[in-house]
Every structure is written in C-alpha cells, then in structure tokens.
Symmetry: C2
Subunit: 300 residues, 2 copies
Amino acid sequence: MKFDDIIAKVQECGKKTVAVAAAQDSAVLEAVREAKKRGIADAILVGDEPKIREIAASLEMDLTDYEIIHEPDMAQAALTAVKLAHDGKVDMYMKGLVDTKNFLKSVLDKEVGLRTGNPLSHVAVFDIPSIDHLLFLTDVAFMTYPTLEDKVNIINNTVPVCKACGVDMPKVAPLAAVEVVNPKMPATVEAAELMKMNEEGQITDCIVDGPLSLDLAIDPEAALHKGATDRKIQGDADVLLFPDIHAGNLVYKAIVHMTDMKNGCILTGTKVPVILTSRSDSFETKVNSIALAAVVASNQ
Amino acid sequence: MKFDDIIAKVQECGKKTVAVAAAQDSAVLEAVREAKKRGIADAILVGDEPKIREIAASLEMDLTDYEIIHEPDMAQAALTAVKLAHDGKVDMYMKGLVDTKNFLKSVLDKEVGLRTGNPLSHVAVFDIPSIDHLLFLTDVAFMTYPTLEDKVNIINNTVPVCKACGVDMPKVAPLAAVEVVNPKMPATVEAAELMKMNEEGQITDCIVDGPLSLDLAIDPEAALHKGATDRKIQGDADVLLFPDIHAGNLVYKAIVHMTDMKNGCILTGTKVPVILTSRSDSFETKVNSIALAAVVASNQ
C-alpha cells in the first residue's frame, strides 16, 4: 500500500470528522478544505469565528458546510475541540493556531482529553518511491530518549497504525548504526531485548528483529549482499524504530528536506488519532496526515 | 562545487597514486581501473599477485601500467601498502580485501602507519540535487559517541577536506533534533559549546552554529519560514556534525538506500587520505571516494 491507497481506503470507509483547535490558521484551513474536497474528512472548526471567516474569505473558502464553534481563547478552544473527540462526536483531533504546549495540555487533560493510559508517541508514515510499501518511522518528534519500556509502548502504539494501513503483521526494526549487539552501544542491547520480548510473547501482533542497520532494514539487495539470510527482516521492515529523537528526527528531516517523498504524521497512544502538524510542514503533509488519521480512526 | 567538479579538479591537479592493501578484490580493482581511466589516480596493487592477475583477467583489465607488489598475507600486505603512503611514495591508501580490523591496524601502526596525533574520523561527502553545494557528513561510520573534545577534533579533521573541495570557510552545523539548547538534551548543550569555542577562537577556519535542526541547517526556505534570520547558518551549512554514530549512520544510510544521490567517503586525521569503502558501497561511491581522496591529497 502507498499513500494514494490510504486516501482511496478512507474514501471507501466514508468521510470522518475532525475537530480543529483554534482553526484561525490559513494553512490548516486550506488542508481541511482539501481533505473535505477529496472525501477524506469533514471538520468542526473551533476558534475565533470572525478570524476564521476572515481567513476563509481570503482563501475563497466556502464555510457553508462547516460547523463553527466560536471560542476566541486558544487554550479554551483546544479544550472545547478535544472534548468533541473525547465525547465521540468527532473521529480525529487536529492542532490549529494554538501553540503545541496548550494543544498537548488539552490532549492530556484528565477530564476532556484523550488519554488511554499509554504514553503518547509519534509516527511518520512515508511513501518512498524505491520501496513498494509504506514505512512507519517512530519516534521522530515526541519521545526524546525512550527507555526499553517506552520502546515497547511505541511499538504497541504503532502496530494499530500499520494494521489500519493494511499491514497485518508489521515487521519492526529497532535501528542502530550496526546490526550486531555491542555492549558499548546501549541501543543495540535494547534492540536485541525487544526482539527477545517479541519471541517470548511480551510484544505481540508484529515481528521484531533487531538490532538492524538501516540498509538491512529497508534494502533487500543490501541484506542479500551482506548475507543476512537468517534474519526475520531482510530489507522488508515496515516500522523503523529509532534509538532516540536525534536519530529519528534527523532521518525524518533528511528525507523531507532532501527529497520530495510524501509523508503524513499522527500522534498515537490516544483515544482518537491526533494531528499535530507544524507550520513548516507542507500542504501535502497536512492533507496526508488527516488521511492517515482518518484511516486509523476507521479502524479503531 | 558538486561531485563532478571534484573529479574535474583532480584531473586538473594531475593524477595521484593510491596504494591498495590486498588488492585481490574485483570491486576494488574495477574502481581502481575506472579512477585510472578518468585521470584521477594510478595505483600500486599490494597483495596476492596470482589472484590479482586472475581477477583482472576475469574483468578484462589490463595490468601493464600497474606496479604490483606480491604479498599473499593480507595483514602484511596492508603494512607494506601503508608504508608506501607513510614514506611519501603514494598519495592515498585504500582498503582492498583485507578486513577492516587489520586495515585500521596498519593505518595506526606506530612505525609505518599514518598517525598524526589527531584521532581518526570519517567524512562522507554528498552531492544532493536540491542543494547547490556539497554536504560533508561526519561522523557517520567511525567515532561512536564523540565527546566534546572528539567533536572539536572531528571539525579540525573535516575543515581541510572542505577546503580541498573549494569551501574556504565552511559552515559547520552541530545537529540535534531541535535548534535550541535544552539541558535535558546533552547534544544541544555540546553544540552550543562548540559554537562558543568557535567564537572564542578555539575552533578556527570555519563558522560553527549550533544546535541546529536539520531543516535550519540545509533548507534556506525552512530557515526563513522559522524566522531564523539572526543565525550564522540559515539553511546553508556545509558540514553536518552528528551527535552520535546512530544518528549519523542512519541519516547516511537513509540517503544512500532511499535515493540515488552521489557520495564519496574518506578517513581523515591521517597523514594521507585513507579510503575505507565497504563491500556494500556502490562502484560509483568507490570511484568518488578515490576522487575525494585525490583532491584532499592535492591540497595537503
């Protein structure tokens, strides 16, 4: 499956609805309009209504079919919007102009937020032309230095996203610079522990093989060349689990800023998928992120 | 300057000579032949002469113009080859079939090796289509968890490589997931320290600005968008200094295995440039690495 297939799948499942926190943001409104046009999602716009109408007018965006809830205070708008998701009135929750700190505060709010008991993690889904399936990169934006336990949680958060995208038994590669355990490199030791936990049934619904270098994880030819024929993953990993945020974020940004490969991102570990795109994300990434959230919501 | 310019520059400076340790390796011989054909380098082939001749025959490679030194033992072949570089008889030193451990042992040999007193580091030079200059990635293969002192040494090793490639005052970006100092992220603290050391004249011949996220380091549009107008680097970094080997190696392999962007790599901190390509490197990477070594040798 590639990104276009995700969008086709969402169109099949029927439009979802997203609540936007502080929707007075032109880039977010443009993405929301495109998602509606392509049959991905309707939106409830929570925020400063006069500003929303002003921006929409400047975009020549017709607001007739949108529910708008007026709430000029941004932190309060986030709480109002997240409650719609909490109460099951919408399927996804998306950040608008509200800053990340207040947005996450709303996600984690004990009364109206989207906690599940699991820690939150981030997944970036990439459509790489030379690879015939989607790649799920985690965590490139949220968890900084995940412990072994955190990594288990990240895997548990990511597997349902893979399933929603049609990957029933995802192959998870805990990455490192090398593919062998080296006691001087803690990331390799933890990667091997994750594999063992998977073999012993403590991590389920996926196949974990680590430590893996990136070539063995994603390049079948390199795996063959290196003679990695006894490994569970031979260049066919679905999930790339990074040792820490520096590695994850730098790889993520290398792909985004050196190539034009498509991606979409969501926060997981929440009651409904959360879309936390940043101002610097492209229009296409924002639309893809809504589509990704919608397909995950369809599967929840 | 791009990779083709490096090759043009070497052709201008006149052919260099490389000594190959255990040259009985078909991929290495093919690269050496191409380098000779393109006027980049001649080679002295040290190793098992009958095997070298056998492989050359299978490649239809004419050995008339090559000096061959027969030494069937691989570790000994490395010591013989490195001594040629040590004694100034050749300009570069390259790994053949000998394993990495014995190859590095020869590089570090106190009598015939290439020590300078500086620690060794690795630099990978990339030609990225969307960027109008070369990118120098370090360290993606050699130093595992560089300390602050190591990072200073890495910069000192890399600046001459930049200069050899025509970048007189390279901009060095110590990378992290974020562009602000966060005491909970040691990589950001060290990055800021490197910038300070540069401002105070302890790191010279370059401009250091860190911590930097990768978008601010390599994407001028992203830098503008994020309002980074007061920074010394605004999407125009030459050197990407990675926090550790996981981050560096994963980015390196992401570029190599997801795209077809050109690169060449050498070891630095040695008396002459050392070419340590691996079996899984492409033919083009091997030739580019010889060219990179030759242009650095021309400048030494």
